[in-house]
């Protein structure tokens, strides 16, 4: 490859056709330049979306059972799906490491009474993890703990608004409230960053409610947060796998969208990812087509050069140049032109992105860039393209008959 004579011949040929070589090389450089700008812009869009995802979204997945819409596995449509404790245990066992917090929820609307005051509140029977899922802040006392779950204690944690309504200025901790005739001991009071709807709720241990209301192991819904280290794609993937597994476990048609309702906060961004992926495909295709035009141009100019150099090639062959040696010369020249001009376009494109990138930090468009892999792949493609561009002219050169050397000019 680093044969001085070979290179000197490549340069000589290029030197003799400066303008033509430049114009053809330019088309390759331009193709790569546009490709890099397109890919960089799409990266900018993706960055914008990802940033919004990280800023705003909580990493929560809500799972609600519903009624099947499609017959499947011997069951008719319209079957009500119920989730049970063992399903939660199953998720816990199967997806270790994929979730951070998980809690099933058993809920009732009940009248809560303290002394003379009473009112209706949503009661959520949950596990201690729920505190972290909902990001509630304990103001007084404590939240539910595992021992409450184990002992199936009748204890409650009241939202700030519940306390305001029932206790007025009284300290609720240690007092007893009555729900549905059963006494519950208040162990804590919570607030939720000003979300009044959350502060209107009452938490009790799930085991307590499941025993009191039907001695059941049914749960109304499941809430979990996925591993915070998950990036966007992993979060989506986890949720997809979870849905698939649960549907199989519940014998639900894989396409049945209504039987279990999944609410994944990452889901909304999934469509955007598909959209930007599509854009990537389109821009790669466009860039590739432009590149093809450039390559055809280079092939064209090389065929022309070969024609001009027919006699010279004939002389070389008469002197003992093997066809492969002649081909090598032409292909090397082609690779040289495509690679140099392509890398030129590459540098220009990435350079422009590097200058523009820090200036562009909009919500939907942030830090356009191309990664090294793209750059390396583009370079490799250019070299391969150079081989292809040189192939036809090289074969032509190899087929030149040495007899032309004997022809007088």
């Amino acid at each position: 490859m680093f044969d001085r004579d070979l290179w000197s011949e490549v340069f000589n040929s290029i030197k003799k056709n400066k303008m033509r070589t430049f114009l053809t090389g330019f088309s390759v450089a331009w193709g790569i330049f546009i490709l890099i700008l397109l890919l960089g812009s799409i990266k900018g869009l993706q960055n914008g979306f990802a940033k919004q995802f990280e800023d705003d979204a909580s990493n929560t997945v809500y799972i609600w059972p519903n009624v099947t819409k499609k017959p499947y596995g011997g069951f008719d449509a319209g079957r009500r799906i119920t989730l049970k404790n063992k399903d939660v245990e199953y998720i816990k066992g199967s997806f270790e490491g994929s979730f951070e917090y998980i809690s099933s929820v058993f809920s009732r609307n009940l009248t809560v009474k303290y002394k003379k005051e009473f009112s209706n509140f949503p009661i959520l029977a949950v596990y201690p993890d729920y505190q972290y899922i909902e990001k509630t802040t304990v103001e007084k006392g404590r939240f539910l703990e595992n021992r409450d779950i184990e002992k199936k204690d009748k204890v409650v944690v009241l939202g700030k608004k519940v306390v305001d309504e029932l206790f007025k200025d009284e300290d609720p901790i240690g007092k007893t409230v009555i729900m549905n005739g059963f006494p519950y001991k208040v162990i804590g009071e919570f607030s939720d960053g000003g979300n009044e709807r959350e502060e209107n709720k009452v938490y009790v241990p799930i085991t307590t409610f499941q025993r009191i209301y039907g001695n059941t192991d049914v749960v109304n819904n499941i809430v979990l947060t996925y591993n915070p280290k998950f990036n966007f794609a992993e979060a989506i993937n986890f949720s997809d796998v979870l849905e698939e597994v649960l549907k199989r476990r519940m014998i639900i048609h894989p396409e049945d969208q209504g039987a279990i309702y999944f609410n994944n906060s990452a889901e909304g961004f999934s469509n955007i990812t598909e959209f930007t992926n599509m854009l990537t495909v389109i821009s790669v295709a466009v860039g590739f087509l432009i590149l093809v035009a450039g390559i055809v141009g280079i092939g064209n100019i090389l065929v022309f050069i070969i024609k001009e150099r027919t006699k010279e090639i004939g002389i070389r062959k008469a002197l003992g140049a093997r066809p492969s040696q002649v081909m090598r010369l032409v292909i090397l020249e082609s690779i040289f032109i495509t690679t140099v001009s392509g890398v030129g376009g590459l540098l220009f494109g990435t350079g422009l992105l590097a200058i523009v990138s820090p200036l562009l930090d909009l919500p939907a468009f942030s830090k356009p860039s191309v990664d090294n892999t793209t750059v390396i792949i583009a370079t490799v493609i250019l070299i391969i393209a150079g081989v292809f561009a040189g192939l036809i002219p090289a074969l032509r050169a190899a087929n030149v008959k040495p007899i032309v050397a004997l022809r007088a000019d």
């Binding site: 001085r4 004579d5 000589n12 003799k16 006699k311 010279e312 002389i315 070389r316 062959k317 008469a318 002197l319 003992g320 140049a321 093997r322 066809p323 492969s324 040696q325 190899a398 008959k401 040495p402 007899i403 050397a405 004997l406 007088a408 000019d409």
Partner: protein, 233 residues
């Protein structure tokens, strides 16, 4: 060293074909200096092309240095040309953007010789043709005679068994022609076998043997008393 028996060659022209060589028998021994003469269309160029492995005969035998030359692949032909043959052309055929020494070194390059080695060898041959001082000049900076001398140095570079010259003086004036012939005679004196196509009687008479072709057959093949070119220079 060169043995040709009953060589035939025809070229297709439209539907018919043109029979150019109609059974050539030629034997050349080592150290000979042969002129091949004939008017245009006599088949002398075709014969030289076949001997130079630039073309292949339809039938007949061609043995060069005890090697049967037949059905050569392009690659093999290239290797044989490089190893056995040195070409001298009418129009010199130097590569215009390469200087004298690079032109001379070209056959050695195709042999795969290392750069330093072939530069030395090329310089040696340039010295031999008296152009060592012109080694870094491009062909356009040289006179016709100098160009042909560079071309001869190039033909000699790979130390071929046989020198093939196609009208070597065709593009030169008489004085320069004789200088070149004097040099070619010197090479022959040193033992090189030389085969030369020419249509000039005076040049042919500077060889040791003249083969005359007409209409694809050898009409006459005779030894001549060599006229030394030196006396005209």
């Amino acid at each position: 060293m060169l043995e040709i028996k009953n060589l035939h060659k025809s070229y297709p022209i439209g539907d018919s074909s043109l029979h150019v060589l109609k059974g050539i028998d030629l034997s050349v021994k080592e150290g000979e200096m042969v002129a091949i003469m004939g008017s245009s269309g006599s088949g002398k160029s075709t014969l030289l092309n076949i001997i130079g492995m630039l073309d292949e005969a339809d039938s007949g035998q061609y043995i060069l240095d005890e090697l049967q030359i037949k059905n050569l692949t392009e690659k093999k032909a290239a290797v044989y040309r490089n190893k056995f043959l040195g070409f001298i052309f009418q129009s010199f055929n130097l590569i215009s953007y390469k200087n004298a020494i690079e032109n001379v070194a070209l056959p050695l390059y195709y042999q795969g010789m290392k750069r330093k080695e072939r530069q030395e060898l090329a310089l040696f041959h340039l010295e031999k043709v008296g152009l060592a001082n012109w080694s870094d000049h491009l062909p356009k900076e040289l006179s016709g005679g100098q160009k042909q001398r560079v071309a001869i140095a190039r033909a000699l570079a790979a130390n071929p068994k046989l020198l093939l010259a196609d009208e070597p003086t065709g593009a030169l004036d008489t004085k320069t022609s004789y200088e070149i012939m004097e040099f070619i005679q010197q090479l022959n004196d040193e033992g090189k076998t030389i085969l030369m196509v020419t249509h000039e009687e005076d040049i042919a008479n500077m060889c040791k043997r003249i083969v005359r072709l007409r209409d694809g057959v050898i009409m006459e093949d005779k030894k001549v008393t060599q006229v030394r070119a030196a006396q005209y220079v």
